[in-house]
């Protein structure tokens, strides 16, 4: 095998790893969209908020410290504890469930049967509110997230694969964090699929996604299902926030991972779980390979736009998404 080919393979593997993460973020969108017809603009900010909360809780930050100090003239900042990663994660899951309950009670409940565009607007409002709220609660400085995930390149992989090429080839360079992220995302996707296919709540979720009236008539509480999907979406956001945050710090730009999910949704469709997964992988691999092969010829930095162009092309030829059925309007 030529080194050139091996590099391409390495790029592809890295693309797959990134793709799994895109798929994860896209999955958050799909879950909410399927169950309630809402395109949740706030999904990215939820990832940011989850990561902020995780760091804050872990490092014993006092929430709303600025506000409290400004009002009471105090100087509180830290509780003085440092929680183990797992404990902080579990607490953060609790916060995300609480957030889901509040979103349902304060917003969704009042918007039942409204036009989708109104609901979309509501989530835009939610996104900006949550962004500001996160700042006020935890401060706006860049934070490092460390829940004990491995960092750096895997020497093991490098060593084992070095023999594949010539002397110039030192083996595949694969980030350990990416490997963990891919593994976690894969487990999450599989368990979500099993949950939705085989559990009572999963069946209820599919029922609500299919027909609200029918779901009500068989005794399903729409509001419970909404809290459930928003909780799951919050959990997915947390996982994405951890992976991304561990990589590049917890800061505003983390919320932009939502932009990475958009082309995935264009590709895979808004209602298909397999679509989100395969779409994520295609975008991940596609953008890395394109950057590797064509990128150097046209000055690089293609990763910003390539995914959208690819998705647009797909959209033109398969508007129903990868796995959607072609809809022929009855006349």
């Amino acid at each position: 095998m030529t080194d050139q080919f091996l590099y391409a393979v390495e790029v592809m593997i890295n693309g797959l790893m990134a793709g799994v993460l895109y798929a994860l973020v896209a999955l958050g969108f799909v879950l909410i969209f399927k169950a309630s017809g809402i395109f949740n603009y706030a999904q990215g900010v939820m990832a940011l908020f989850a990561a902020l909360t995780l760091v804050g809780l872990q490092q014993g930050q006092v929430p709303f410290a600025h506000l409290i100090n400004a009002i009471f003239g105090t100087e509180v900042h830290h509780f003085g504890w440092h929680l183990p990663g797992l404990v902080a994660i579990i607490l953060t899951i609790g916060v995300m469930v609480l957030l889901a309950i509040i979103i349902e009670k304060v917003i969704l409940k009042h918007l039942v049967n409204q036009e989708p565009i109104i609901l979309f607007m509501a989530t835009i409002g939610l996104a900006y509110f949550l962004e500001g709220f996160g700042d006020v609660m935890w401060g706006s400085d860049i934070k490092t997230l460390d829940v004990g995930l491995p960092q750096g390149a895997s020497f093991w992989v490098e060593e084992k694969t070095a023999i594949l090429g010539t002397d110039n080839f030192y083996g595949f360079f694969i980030d350990k964090l990416d490997m963990v992220a891919a593994l976690v995302a894969a487990i999450l996707v599989i368990s979500l699929t099993i949950f939705s296919q085989y559990s009572k709540q999963g069946r209820a979720l599919r029922a609500v996604a299919d027909d609200h009236q029918a779901a009500l008539s068989v005794g399903i509480s729409l509001r419970f299902i909404w809290v459930l999907v928003w909780s799951i979406a919050g959990f997915v956001a947390l996982v994405a926030g951890i992976m991304w945050g561990a990589k590049s710090g917890v800061q505003f730009s983390l919320s932009l991972i939502a932009l990475k999910a958009l082309p995935v949704l264009m590709l895979g469709g808004f209602t298909s779980i397999p679509g989100a997964i395969v779409g994520g992988l295609i975008i991940g691999v596609g953008e890395k390979l394109f950057e590797f092969t064509i990128g150097p010829m046209i000055g690089g930095a293609t990763e910003n736009w390539f995914a959208y162009v690819l998705a647009l092309l797909f959209l033109v030829f398969r508007p129903q998404g990868l796995f959607g059925e072609k809809i022929i309007e009855r006349v």
């Binding site: 009572k200 069946r203 209820a204 599919r206 027909d211 009236q213 029918a214 008539s217 068989v218 399903i220």
Partner: protein, 272 residues
């Protein structure tokens, strides 16, 4: 009308019990439209109760009030001898009241089997935590529900379409699956909104047979809306007649048929 305070026995020997549900002075307004105007009637245990009336009379609205989809502007709904607090539709369903819809509301992407299975939602015991940690038990429960569902499928003679996504089925079969889903809940009270609309004669006969069998075999109380007078006369024990939101008749099919107000309403005699 004969005295029925403590229940009665029908001509074909079915025993009808005491009051299961009672609507007391129900009024329902949508803005300026009065869909139901001060209507009272009861539904007795074990009977087949029909609600008839011209288009727009308020029949579906009445069924929606019973099933919790509409909240009455005034009046009370009594169930099993107690006034029912305001309830969401899913809570009504959990009380043992199942329904079908005039415009069919099925889970179109799911198979016949899954649709009917979903009808057992209220009877499924194990919660999320149990399902996560007690896989075996959840599996056992699932297979018990599956058995019941298969029985319903046999009963409704729809074995051939068990695995078909219901969105692809013809209208008549969809109505049948929807009935199956309602039956799966093993309801105390079954509400059917025009179960035979849009069916051919043969399909209507099948559906009539299923309704009678359900009532007879399981003692299920049934309230149904139907336009076909022949069907109504054949099936029902007692009939409520509505017109322009008002009750204009209530009694056995024979009594109702000879009621002058009812005859006028159906012949389209002008109102005042």
């Amino acid at each position: 009308m004969k005295d029925i305070a403590e229940g009665y026995v029908t001509a074909d020997g079915r025993k009808i019990g005491g009051t299961l549900m009672e609507m007391k002075n129900i009024t329902l307004r949508f803005g300026g439209v009065v869909a139901i105007k001060d209507i009272s009637f009861d539904i007795r245990e074990g009977e087949i109760r029909a609600i008839i009336g011209p288009n727009g009379a308020g029949k579906s609205s009445m069924l929606n009030v019973i099933s919790g989809f509409y909240v009455p502007t005034e009046g009370e709904v009594w169930f099993r001898g107690e006034p029912r607090p305001q309830m969401r539709p899913y809570q009504v369903a959990r009380q043992g009241i199942a329904r079908t819809f005039q415009n069919i509301a099925l889970f179109k992407g799911m198979s016949t089997l899954d649709n009917i299975m979903t009808g057992r939602m209220t009877l499924m015991e194990s919660n999320m935590a149990q399902q996560a940690f007690w896989w075996g038990r959840a599996q056992k429960e699932e297979s018990e529900h599956r058995e019941k569902v298969e029985k319903i499928i046999d009963f409704l003679e729809i074995q051939a379409i068990r695995k078909t996504p219901v969105g692809r089925l013809p209208y008549g079969l969809q109505k049948r699956v929807e009935l199956g889903r309602a039956l799966a809940a093993e309801p105390k009270l079954l509400l059917l909104d025009e179960p035979m609309a849009g069916m051919n004669v043969e399909e209507k006969e099948d559906m009539s047979r299923f309704i009678l069998d359900v009532n007879d075999e399981f003692g299920t109380t049934i309230a149904l809306i139907e336009h076909d007078m022949g069907v109504v006369m054949d099936l029902s024990d007692r009939v409520v007649v509505m017109d322009y939101g008002k009750k204009i008749g209530d009694g056995t099919p024979d009594e109702v048929r000879n009621n002058q107000d009812v005859i006028d309403a159906y012949l389209g005699v002008s109102h005042d």
